[in-house]
Symmetry: C2
Subunit: 189 residues, 2 copies
């Protein structure tokens, strides 16, 4: 099977496409510089044919040790993970790994702006859910065994991300509201 790279790295493809388009728009208009990180790959064997490009002949997918996206907005470090769910009732922790949580905690400690972008595809609703709130529910797992956050909770404690013609997931608008209220960068972190 011949597939392009995005096919592997991501199940919630349309959300990622929308975010990538949004980032392209942000970049073209000098609003923010946010990139998706390349899929980490462990390369084992490479051929170097004469007069043509090196060919990777054996490699394996590695688990990402960080989140999908990072970059800069008005000097602030931005870091987030994007997840899409088909569930109507809750956002499952499936596909979030402990080391990603660890990374997000480190980012928050360093005063970075860190969050999840969660899409409930059944409702076509996309939320910014701040990392510190995620940690609360993640850490709860140990006590109550609940491996998800209820849709109602995401709706209440998260922030709906507006859909715009060119910025399909216009998360900068929400960042402005949640993190920049004092014209600065200290709120909401």
């Amino acid at each position: 099977a011949h597939l392009n790279q995005t096919d592997y790295s991501n199940r919630g493809m349309s959300l990622e496409d929308d975010i990538n388009d949004t980032n392209t728009y942000y970049m073209a208009h000098n609003l923010a510089i946010i990139h998706k990180k390349p899929t980490p790959v462990q390369i084992v064997h490479v051929d170097y044919p004469k007069r043509s490009a090196a060919v990777i002949k054996e490699a394996y997918f590695k688990q990402a040790s960080t989140t999908d996206y990072n970059g800069v907005y008005k000097g602030n470090y931005i870091d987030f993970e994007a997840k899409e769910t088909k569930s109507k009732h809750s956002f499952p922790f499936r596909n979030i790994h402990q080391h990603q949580i660890d990374h997000m905690k480190q980012v928050i400690f360093q005063k970075g702006i860190c969050f999840l972008i969660i899409r409930f595809s059944m409702y076509q609703e996309t939320y910014l859910f701040p990392a510190d709130k995620l940690f609360y529910y993640w850490d709860q797992q140990i006590r109550n065994g609940k491996k998800s956050i209820r849709y109602e909770t995401v709706k209440k404690q998260g922030y709906i991300i507006p859909v715009r013609y060119q910025a399909k997931v216009d998360y900068l608008t929400v960042i402005e509201q949640c993190y920049m209220e004092n014209g600065g960068t200290t709120n909401g972190r």
Copy 2:
């Protein structure tokens, strides 16, 4: 030939190793969260053997569209490229691409902290060279055709990075001096 990933992605291997060690130290001590980005790879063909991990059977190296390293330090976005040269006289622009310069200009516009780490291996000296000074010499190329920066210039306009036992390339010390003088984040950008 079986090689590990760092063998391909990098000629100045020992500088990158030193930076990676430094970043590990910074992370372990909650001083900064800086990661090297994965080498971007275009995946063409993957096998999915039963009961074992997916194997990438055909893939190609893609040119990086950004710099090697980014992350967060005290809320500030940090972004840099690391380059080692064996020249005694100058730092050559070879291996720096126009789109990386474009990226660095975008980062500076967004008020990120952006620089090169340049090692002159003959002298065992490593410098932080701010991106805005790099742009000056880069843009000069068109007029004077000079595709390098003189060693003396790097020495004068850059900042020597101290070598420490655990932080082998202790660039945070220099960032503190160059960018945080007002206890803030606006200087030197």
